[in-house]
Symmetry: C2
Subunit: 365 residues, 2 copies
DNA sequence: CTGAAAGCGCTTACAG
DNA sequence: CTGAAAGCGCTTACAG
């Protein structure tokens, strides 16, 4: 996999020491801002500049026991790309952004690695990354609980939207509250009587929590709930579109509102509906979950549940860092969400934030 | 900056060797797929599994002289976020995606690091990253030519949309051809007689090439060219919006078409125009450059020049890899671009790819 | 095929 | 404050 035995004229701390006329220990001290006489300091710094010396991170890490690197693993979409979701900045990307910024503040860098859905040797791929990092942040559905437990033996782990285990930490959002607010808005404010939940991956903890909250709340509100395999999606726009298409093809009547497991699912549903001439939200209302950046650009703008996505990433890093540096770290952090009412639920377009329309007028839950 | 002296019960290759009853050399060989008897192999693999041992990347790197890590540095937008560009997947993100996938194929991981526009100690930040990687890919406007030359002393460097130097490699797109096709479409197909180029950062090589091509081509086409400080933007939507606003406030007449330095600039210009009631493309046509994913979702959909963004990233990695592994590497790769005609130039909406409209009907250049 | 040993480039007690 | 020396966890000639 690799051949180069050693880079070219790799400069080392010995070269700097020789040039500055001091010991390597002194060079190291200056480089790390530890005690040293002003004169030594000057000479070392000068030598460093003249040689444009950059200390080797691997050697530092080996000596220190700290790489100052956090590994982030997420799934690459190997599925057929859907026009709008292809390359869009989705959920994962925004989280990664949050991780990066938080890491920066602690002097850490982020080793990003995507894994294919059907990757052959997932285990070794991830182990290789773990070996290069002080801790790992795993996005949803990367490793099984057993896989996480095993990996956690060798490196601290934080999962995102997963389930905390005995050895790993977790950061997630308040799915139940979000779905609850959404269902209430649909039923109470709009008066919709029939609802369906277009599901995400059935093995996703987030999806399970959302599905459960949906069923509970919709039933409590006295709405007619559509369920069953016909409403099994997979978090992708493609999957949602196919789902809606086949239901329409089968001549099934759609519910008045479709609560989608995430924004991508809503996006796919809206596309399919539009293609079949079904008006959103006129005939069928559609809602999402996540509030990815593109949500407000859809037609109609998507009513969804806002997750503090960036903060999730930043929080994941902070929790991991606590664990890395002190065996601490909150085991299960839950972040609040917020209902974002736009137009796909049936609310009217509000020209500016201050003008209030005459229609159903949903406000924040 | 860091305290942990050493992780908890860090397992080492010695633990594995002891458990397997072999020498550490044998463990290493098995782990690296080198010659070893089936029996040794079995015992080592078993021990590795039982202990869930993960070899330390820093130690491997130090011993090998290869970290299998590529550092990528890009600028974080510290500027005021503009609605549509905030967190959107822009140029940089798509490139990074391309880098990541290409790196994967060679067993490399990507160390991503964003730097603030006004970061204090940029030099040391970047040096720290360089120390953790085998090579670096630098996005536009990260380091001066001198800074690049200095860094190149210690690590191979590939710049993106920069200028090749004696010690660094570069990957860019064919700006001139793109602008040429765009200007011809605007002048020849639409008959616009007055054009302006809303510039990007004046110190960006890409911008310089585009500006030059614009002036040459527009003049050759006999169009009236608007220039000057009034058309100096900075690649951001915010900057472009302010620029247009102030021109409008000053009562200046706008040209018939505005060729923007990049898509974000076009996005800002369109927003400003819309806010002031100027119709696009009815009164003023606007075009972009890049073809970021969001371009087709704008209103009207943006006519722009498509750059093979992902490929740029992948190419940057490949070129860097050649240099890392064999001192090779094409010093200045130029990738082709393609004119994407949508509606912001004045062309009519084309319902499907096969239906051709009756209007100006621009086709690929 | 296998093991003993050296070495990769740093950091950090330990003396001085 | 400074230097000599040990050690971080691997890989890889070198012998056997």
């Amino acid at each position: 996999m690799a051949e180069p035995k050693k880079a070219k004229g790799t400069l080392t701390i010995y070269d700097v020491a020789t040039r500055a006329g001091v010991s390597i220990a002194s060079v190291s001290r200056v480089l790390n801002g530890l005690g040293s006489s002003p004169e030594t300091r000057e000479r070392v710094l000068l030598a460093v500049r003249e040689l444009s010396f950059v200390p080797d991170g691997a050697a530092r890490a080996l000596s220190n026991g700290l790489k100052e690197v956090v590994g982030v693993v997420f799934r690459r979409g190997d599925e057929v790309p859907f026009a709008d979701e292809d390359e869009s900045l989705l959920f994962i990307d925004v989280i990664n952004r949050g991780i990066e910024v938080a890491a920066q503040r602690r002097g850490f860098d982020v080793l990003m690695s995507s894994v294919g859905v059907h990757e052959e040797n997932l285990g070794s791929r991830i182990a290789a990354i773990a070996g290069k990092a002080d801790g790992m942040i795993l996005h949803d559905r990367i490793l099984s609980a057993a896989g996480i437990a095993r990996l956690a033996d060798s490196v601290p782990i934080v999962t995102l939207a997963g389930t905390p285990t005995a050895s790993s930490l977790n950061v997630r959002c308040d799915n139940a509250s979000g779905i609850r607010a959404l269902v209430r808005h649909l039923v109470d404010d709009h008066g919709y009587r029939s609802l369906a939940y277009l599901s995400g991956h059935s093995d996703s903890p987030d999806n399970k929590a959302r599905a459960r909250a949906f069923e509970t709340e919709a039933a409590a509100a006295g709405a007619d709930v559509r369920t069953g395999p016909a409403w099994q999606g997979n978090y992708s726009a493609e999957g949602a579109a196919q789902d809606i298409m086949s239901q329409l093809d089968a001549g099934r009547a759609l519910p008045r509102a479709i609560v989608c497991a995430n924004d991508q699912t809503a996006l796919g549903a809206m596309h399919a509906l539009a293609r079949r001439g079904v008006k959103v939200p006129g005939e069928v209302a559609v809602t999402g979950f996540d509030d990815v950046p593109v949500a407000r650009h859809l037609h109609p703008p998507l009513t969804t549940v806002h997750q503090p996505i960036r903060e999730m990433g930043a929080t994941a890093f902070e929790v991991l860092w606590s664990r890395i540096s002190a065996e601490g770290g909150e085991p299960d952090v839950v972040l609040p969400v917020r209902l974002m009412i736009r137009e796909s639920c049936g609310c009217a377009h509000r020209p500016t934030a201050t003008t209030i329309s005459a229609l159903p007028a949903g406000e924040e839950a």
